[in-house]
């Protein structure tokens, strides 16, 4: 038994040496100018990060997240049972939709002759094409639901009251923009479902007094849905409405902080 005991001059075993090498590489990387230039002081990725109140503050203060979050929030604001995370989920679904949408744009031409066939070949010819299209579609429906539920949640908490009145108005705008984004995207597959759903939807628009017909004409690019409509709705869907909604979201998030964080507790 004595010869199995470790003597002090025995070399470390291979896993140990690998671990040491890994540690040395990590130390070298974290000490490098390159690394420290990316991660500002207080970052959890910096060498020697320790969990302290000061560092917890630095994690936010010294990162781009400071544009979105303050260093500290009211204790009840982090309770999932209060917000149900609905606003955050809506925002995250928007990001997910942007990512999947950019993927889809690589394979899609907004013309009446190519659009449907592009979607068809996306299903069969493109790696993960069907999956990404599915995700885009379901995330869009989900976002309509989460934005709606977020509105309901905010109402029932009375969170639209002073000083948050204007942020509520911005939120109602965001709800409408979300519906418009979903609706413009609905036409793009250019199948029977898209064509006739949008026909029904835009016919309702025509009932608006005074300018209803004109708005409908501009949106459709004619008296009825055609190739011009497809191009217009494509540009609205991938560029104009996202641009507008991002501006409104920026104001919305900024006002949440300026109005003193989220409301409550009840």
């Amino acid at each position: 038994m004595a010869n199995t005991l470790e003597s002090p001059d025995t070399k470390p075993k291979l896993p140990q040496r690998l671990q040491n090498a890994q540690q040395q590489a990590a130390d070298w990387m974290q000490d490098s100018q390159f690394w420290t230039s990316i991660f500002r002081p207080g970052s959890i990725f910096r060498k020697g990060y320790t969990d302290s109140p000061r560092n917890r503050s630095y994690v936010i203060m010294n990162s781009v997240l400071y544009h979105l979050h303050p260093v500290k929030v009211k204790r009840h604001a982090v309770k999932v049972s209060y917000t149900l995370c609905l606003g955050g989920l809506s925002f995250f679904l928007f990001i997910l939709l942007t990512i999947t949408g950019i993927f889809l744009m690589f394979f899609y031409r907004p013309t009446d002759t190519a659009a449907w066939a592009d979607i068809e070949s996306l299903h069969t010819q493109v790696a993960f094409g069907l999956l990404v299209r599915n995700m885009h579609r379901w995330a869009a429906h989900l976002m309509v639901i989460t934005v709606f539920l977020h509105m309901a949640r905010v109402f029932y908490h009375g969170a639209y009251k002073a000083p948050r009145e204007f942020n509520w108005v911005v939120g109602v705008m965001l709800l409408q923009l979300t519906l418009l984004l979903a609706f413009t995207g609905y036409l793009l597959p250019w199948d029977q479902l898209a064509l006739w759903a949008v026909t029904v939807g835009t016919n309702m628009m025509g009932f608006t007094p005074v300018f209803g017909e004109q708005v409908r004409f501009v949106l459709l690019g004619g008296q009825q849905i055609g190739a011009e409509t497809l191009l217009r709705w494509y540009v609205l869907h991938v560029l104009m409405l996202p641009f507008v909604i991002v501006i409104f979201m920026a104001i919305h998030f900024w006002r949440v902080r300026k109005d003193g964080g989220i409301s409550g507790p009840l």
Binding site: V73, L93, F183, D191
Partner: protein, 255 residues
């Protein structure tokens, strides 16, 4: 104050005795002797003032930390090595003044119950993001987005339905004149919704104080939800009323 071993205390007391020329025995009693009870809460206690004016820092030190007990004598440790710039009695510190807490310190009345965003909020947000991504991914793995035949202007599907979130409007159109169903009702609903904070002047957040607002909003939301459900599941051929368990959802409900 940390615990200081007995022998170190004794050694420091001896060293101080050598430096000051006073007997070492007196040092141990000093802290107990200097319990100030002349603190009227406004002026500087007289005992502290006197202590700060007389040489030999020991009583002053004891006065500053009356609760320190025997460890208060640890103030004498610094004199174990007589410093170069020591005062006439070997003391290195002089008490200039004592400031009552609250007189110049800005103590916030209510600091509030706050938590750090990292990790408490960010971790929750990250979890929620992961969850919704996983949900969307798994849902997309099993259920495909619809793609019907190529758009055909000459073939109207029966029924023709708007996307589900507009089916409430389409449902209203079956009941009222377009001017009312398509314009007045949704317009008024939307304007009232947007201006809710300016219409609802009640400042309370408590549900029991907001019975009217909550009732109106619940009826409003349920109004649209019921219409959307009827439009989605209970409207078949020719947008006529049907039961989904009679006709099935095929052809009457698309996402």
């Amino acid at each position: 104050m940390t615990e200081i071993p007995e022998h170190l205390l004794r050694r420091s007391a001896e060293a101080r005795a050598r430096a000051t020329g006073a007997p070492a025995a007196g040092e141990g009693e000093a802290p107990a002797a200097a319990q100030p009870d002349d603190d009227d809460g406004v002026t500087i206690p007289r005992s502290l003032l006197e202590a700060s004016q007389q040489p030999g820092g020991a009583p002053a030190v004891a006065g500053m930390a009356p609760a320190g007990g025997p460890a208060a004598a640890g103030g004498g440790v610094a004199t174990a090595l007589p410093p170069l710039m020591a005062g006439p009695a070997g003391n290195t510190h002089r008490l200039l003044t004592v400031v009552k807490s609250g007189s110049i310190q800005d103590v916030k009345a209510s600091p509030g119950d706050k938590v750090h965003v990292w990790p408490h909020l960010l971790a929750a947000e990250f979890t929620a993001a992961l969850f919704i991504t996983a949900f969307t991914l798994v849902f997309s793995l099993f259920i495909n987005a619809p793609l019907l035949e190529l758009a055909n202007h000459n073939e109207t599907p029966n029924p023709s339905k708007a996307p589900w979130y507009f089916l409430g409007l389409q449902e209203l159109l079956t009941m009222f004149d377009p001017m009312i169903a398509g314009v007045t009702i949704p317009g008024v609903a939307l304007i009232l919704l947007a201006f809710a904070p300016y219409v609802d002047k009640n400042p309370s957040l408590r549900p029991e104080d907001r019975k009217f607002a909550i009732s109106v909003q619940t009826i409003h939301l349920m109004f649209w939800a019921v219409l959307v459900i009827i439009g989605s599941f209970f409207r078949g051929q020719g947008f006529n009323f049907t039961y989904p368990w009679d006709t099935g959802l095929h052809g009457i409900f698309h996402l």
